[in-house]
Homo-oligomer: 434 residues x 2
């Protein structure tokens, strides 16, 4: 089939065979299928869909478009977590060392922030010296020795995904469930993992605003992962207000470290335990979620989880003293409170607006090439359901300049809405799909 | 709106405003909208459609992407004909001089053949010296003086259409009624015409195989042309078997010349009169179709139509003697009959298969860059409904080599099907839409 025959078949709602999908992706990577043909196919897929067999064929073709890591030399189950992205989502930073401290290997390849959502790599790089670009051999060795490595994607892992994503981003073909499924799984399976836990976020601050769409994506990811012979669990979690209190790179890393020290905001602690417990069960070191949670709690209580983070930081060239003194990650010159306008209760707190305010402070990127400032961000003092009194601080803006602080403070104030009676935040964990 | 906002809106079935459509096309022509964005939009349009206002906005944007000819200095109505393309369709070559001889100005810009269909330019170039690339000033002057010029599209007429068509051709987005409408009309309206007659072909040898689709295209063309302030008539005609008897460039031009001499096959003569009569009425030189047909017949009978062709050929650098001696257009070294296998009647004659056989002889192009041989082709001795006897010639193949002739003869034989009782060919003129 010529490229245009393949596009025509999908345009007309026909099912593509695995061979046809594989050959289209291979030819795209070799430059024999043009960008304008791939974008036309992506639009046809967006509007006509792919069934499970086609989605898996696409995932497999993208996975094998580059190097697939071989972690078979590392004993035990290798388990990773992936989040579809939210605001204030620093779970990976406390989760990975905690799970590794409990005995499951975590080979974690993360991304950078774009738009209103942050990225784990940017948060890790707030730690002075922390290097997220390990050569593959060091990555594999560190997973074997330390139990966890936290790195960025290299050019040779799933290159088809990177090129396809760049096209989808500018052709309005991002929000397609089969295309998202293939994109996430091709990258994650290239890590050589045995099992995967997925955090599919739902709400104003998430990629999927509706629960039905988030559920459809979660189911697609679980079904497709199973076709690939991997154990996959997906959990739908709320992303109406930011997770935790900190939004901004150094601030978030410090908050994640608090969790490992036995502190941290309740929602962040809870999600860390929810995902950590799933990973321990998938990794075979706990028989039940309850047993897993108790193991995780003891790893926090006895300090081994925090020590695991220090070891990882040291192994990746970072300053382990930053784990105990967050000010080493930099502090913003201007810290400005945002005052409550009246008495009442926080009814809503728009995660997307907070994410955009943090981005405009320099914590995130408008475009992929933008530089970020690790020290700036927002710390939320009040969240949904909290009582507020006039003049009391709702949040504190950490900024580079007074002007930045002023502008961000207005944006933050605008993200809050109040009610006379106490509202209850949405449940954090909405649904588990496996 | 960013390009991806425009694509997203159409993807989601929203209506695009004229401003949005115009700006997208303008930015595409300037290189600010990438090919992969245009192809994604074309796929979204293919699957979501455009309404009449959007189709006209697209037509107008494409029309104004380049030069629009000004024929206001030429007195009288300027009327052109366009065919969606078929096999053996040489109507333009006899129609244009005939209509010009009857007093209507015909500024005709034609295309080349591709795949199984031929192109008027290739047929005209069978006449030694005939130049289809006139500068615009000469084109306008010739329409004024001679009443007709027959040329190819220049790069500065509707460049958006040329670039969009090249993309659509390789991204399975050709067969979209609004995109075809905008493509045809933007090119035709760039000629500066007042009225247009459209031959929308239906059947095995046509672009539109179903009558319902052909009717939908015809209606779209008529409605959109009217929005542009032009008089437009569309006629659906059968293209199950080839038109006339000749398929191949010099053979077809010779057959068209026969029509001007008062001969020619009945179906070709009939279509020439049907389209010519519409053009005379639109051009204001006849009050009724009946009056127009009678005027056309007299222009054939008195030799003025043939003389008009000689004048056009001379004006465009061609050898006018070829009009009277077709052998000057070249003859094929091998002429091989294709014999009837049995006694009976021709039940069907696959126009597409005949077109492909002619293409493989060298009369057409597999790719746009292929060279063609004017002398080769096929002359059909038997058409649908004709009685045949075993051994009698069904057709004659005109080939460059014996091997070519052998192969084409088999293909031609395979295009015929027979029945014991006489079949009647489909009506030639199916429907008139205005």
């Amino acid at each position: 089939m010529t490229p245009s025959d393949v596009i025509r078949a999908k345009r007309d709602g026909q099912k593509l065979t695995a061979d046809v999908v594989r050959s289209f992706v291979d030819r795209f990577v070799r430059g024999e299928v043009a960008d304008y043909q791939m974008s036309a196919l992506c639009m046809a897929v967006y509007l006509r869909g792919l069934d499970d067999a086609e989605t898996w064929a696409l995932t497999e073709a993208m996975l094998h478009s580059g190097r697939v890591l071989d972690l078979s030399s590392v004993p035990g189950q290798k388990v990773d977590k992936h989040s579809t992205g939210g605001v204030g989502d620093k779970v990976s930073i406390c989760l990975a060392p905690l799970v590794a401290a409990a005995g499951v290997k975590v080979p974690m390849i993360s991304g950078r922030g774009l738009g209103h959502t942050g990225g784990t790599l940017d948060k890790l790089e707030a730690i002075p010296g922390f290097d997220v670009r390990l050569p593959v051999e060091r990555f594999v060795a560190q997973v074997a020795e330390v139990g966890c490595a936290l790195v960025g994607q290299t050019d040779d892992l799933a290159p088809a995904d990177r090129r396809m994503y760049a096209l989808r981003d500018v052709t309005a073909t991002v929000e397609s469930i089969p295309l998202i499924t293939a994109s996430i799984l091709s990258k994650k399976l290239a890590e050589g993992i045995d099992a995967l836990v997925l955090d599919v976020k739902v709400g104003r601050g998430a990629f999927m605003e509706s629960r039905a769409r988030a559920r459809a994506l979660a189911r697609s990811l679980v079904r497709c992962g199973k076709r690939g012979g991997k154990k996959v669990v997906a959990i739908l979690t709320s992303m109406d207000e930011p997770l935790g209190r900190a939004v901004g790179n150094a601030l978030e890393t410090a908050e994640a470290i608090d969790v490992l020290r036995g502190g941290g905001p309740r929602d962040l602690v809870e999600l860390t335990l929810v995902f950590g417990a799933e990973m321990l069960v998938l990794g075979g070191v706990a028989k039940s979620i309850a047993q897993a949670r108790s193991l995780l709690s003891s790893r926090i209580a006895d300090g081994t989880a925090l020590e695991k983070l220090r070891t990882i930081v040291r192994a990746q060239g970072g300053d382990p003293a930053a784990v105990d003194d967050p000010s080493r990650m930099g502090t913003a010159p201007v810290i400005r409170p945002v005052s409550a306008p009246k008495r009442g209760f926080v009814r809503s707190l728009d995660a997307r607006a907070i994410g955009l305010a943090a981005m405009s402070l320099g914590a995130g990127r408008r475009r992929a090439e933008d530089a970020i400032d690790p020290a700036v961000g927002i710390v939320l003092e009040k969240k949904i359901g909290d009582a507020v009194h006039p003049g009391e601080p709702l949040a504190r803006v950490h900024a580079k300049t007074e002007a930045d602080a002023e502008r961000a403070a207005e944006e933050v104030a605008g993200a809050y809405a109040f009610a006379a009676r106490r509202a209850h935040p949405a449940r954090l964990v909405l649904e588990r799909i496996s």
